[in-house]
Amino acid sequence: MSVFHLQIVSPQRVEFDGEVESLVAPGEEGYVGVLANHAPLLTTLGKGNLSAREASGEEIQCRIEGAGFLEVYDNNAVVLAERIEILSAGGSSRL
C-alpha cells in the first residue's frame, strides 16, 4: 500500500513526522479518512481522536483539542492543533 507524508504539529512541538498509509482525523463535521493520493483538502478539526497507520502496521493515536486544521496537498498531510495529546506514539519515526 502506498504511503504519504504526515506531520502532526502543535504549538509545543512537532509531535509526529513520518510516512503513513492511512489517516483518520476528527473533522469538525465528522471523521475524515485520508489515503495516499488524496485530493487537496483543507478542513477544520473538532475535538476527537486522530489515528494513523504506518507501513509497519504501527498505530499513531492522539487526542485533538482546541482549534485544529488538516491540510492535504500532494501527498503531504499536515495536522495542526492547539492541544494535542499523544496516546500511542507508533514506531521509530516519532520525533
Binding site: A39, P40, L42
Partner: protein, 293 residues
C-alpha cells in the same frame, strides 16, 4: 592613615556574598533560558504552517472582505508592550520602556493606548498615567498558550469592535544569546504582504482545495488560530530575550564582583602589612629604648 582592617573585611565579605547571589541568578537564568528557547524553537514550525495557510487565503480575491483585513483611518493605535515581570535584567526593561516612550511622543496625544504584558512596563506607565487598555501579568516567566489566547482574543475583540484601528506588537526578538532586537510588528489589520510565504507564485494559485465544511468556515477559524499562535510566539521571543538579558547582566555583575574582591583583597593585605610593620617598629623601638636605658 591606613584603612581600617575591620571595615575592609566587612566590605569584602558583603561583596563575596553578593557575588554568590548574582552567580546563582545567572545559573537560574541560564536554565530558564534553555527551557524557553527550546519552547520558542519548537513553536516555530506550528506558526510557520499556519502562516503558509493564511498566506494562501490572502491570495484569494475575496480576502479583503474579512473583518481582520479591514484597513481604517487610524484614529487609535494599540501598542502591545512586552516587558519582564521583574528587574535585574540589565537594560532590557529600560530599553523597551524608552523606545515605547519615543513611540508615544512621536504620535498624536491620546492616540495610542497601551496593552502591557509583564509587570515592569505596566507599573511604569501606570505611574505616568498613560492610557492603558489592559495588562496581562500572569505569564510568570514561561510562554503559556492559554494566556496567549486570552491576549489575542482581547486584541481581536478590540479591533473588531472598532475600539482601536490598529494593533502593533512591540517585543524584543531573540536573535542569539547576546543579541536581542526590539521589534515593532503590525498585528492587526492583517497585512498579507507581511506573511513570509514559502510557496510564492508558481503552484500557489493552482491549489484548489476541497474545503470542509466550507471555505468561509475554515478561514473563520484559521485566522484566529494564526493570531493566537502569533501572540504565543512573540511571548516566547520576549521571554527568551528577557532570560538571556538577565543572564548576561548577572554574568557581568559577577565579573564586577570578582574585580572588586581582587582590589579589596590587595588593599586589605596592604593595610594588614602596614599594621604589622607599625607593630614591629614599636617593638623594636621599645626594645632599643630598654637597652639604652
Amino acid at each position: 592613615m591606613p584603612e581600617s582592617l575591620k571595615v575592609l573585611r566587612r566590605r569584602l565579605r558583603s561583596i563575596r556574598s553578593t557575588k554568590q547571589i548574582t552567580r546563582a541568578m545567572e545559573m537560574v537564568s541560564a536554565a530558564k533560558l534553555r527551557r524557553v528557547q527550546g519552547m520558542l524553537l519548537s513553536a516555530r514550525p506550528y506558526v510557520r504552517h499556519l502562516e503558509t495557510l493564511v498566506g494562501r487565503l490572502a491570495e484569494q480575491e475575496d480576502a479583503a472582505s474579512s473583518p481582520y483585513f479591514a484597513r481604517r483611518d487610524v484614529k487609535r493605535t494599540t501598542l502591545v508592550l512586552y516587558t519582564a515581570d521583574r528587574g535585574l535584567c540589565g537594560s532590557y526593561n529600560a530599553n523597551m520602556i524608552r523606545q515605547t516612550e519615543a513611540f508615544l511622543r512621536g504620535s498624536a496625544e491620546e492616540k495610542v493606548e497601551l496593552v502591557c504584558i509583564g509587570r515592569r512596563g505596566h507599573d511604569y506607565f501606570r505611574r505616568r498615567k498613560e492610557r492603558i487598555a489592559n495588562a496581562f501579568t500572569d505569564f510568570g516567566g514561561k510562554p503559556d498558550l492559554e494566556e496567549s489566547v486570552r491576549v489575542a482574543e482581547f486584541l481581536c475583540e478590540r479591533f473588531l469592535s472598532g475600539a482601536t484601528d490598529e494593533v502593533v506588537l512591540f517585543y524584543s526578538a531573540f536573535v542569539s544569546t547576546v543579541v536581542t532586537k526590539p521589534t515593532f510588528q503590525k498585528f492587526l489589520p492583517f497585512d498579507p504582504a507581511s506573511l513570509s510565504r514559502t510557496d510564492k507564485g508558481k503552484d500557489a494559485a493552482e491549489r484548489f482545495y476541497l474545503y470542509e465544511p466550507s471555505r468561509e468556515r475554515v478561514y473563520e477559524r484559521l485566522i484566529p488560530a494564526y493570531l493566537h499562535s502569533k501572540i504565543h510566539i512573540s511571548v516566547a521571543e520576549a521571554l527568551t530575550s528577557e532570560h538571556s538579558s538577565r543572564m548576561l547582566a548577572m554574568n557581568s555583575a559577577s565579573k564586577n564582583c570578582d574585580e572588586l574582591v581582587d582590589s579589596l583583597t590587595l588593599r586589605l593585605n596592604k593595610a594588614r602589612q602596614g599594621t604589622i610593620t607599625g607593630d614591629l617598629l614599636d617593638i623594636v623601638g621599645g626594645a632599643e629604648a630598654l637597652q639604652q636605658g
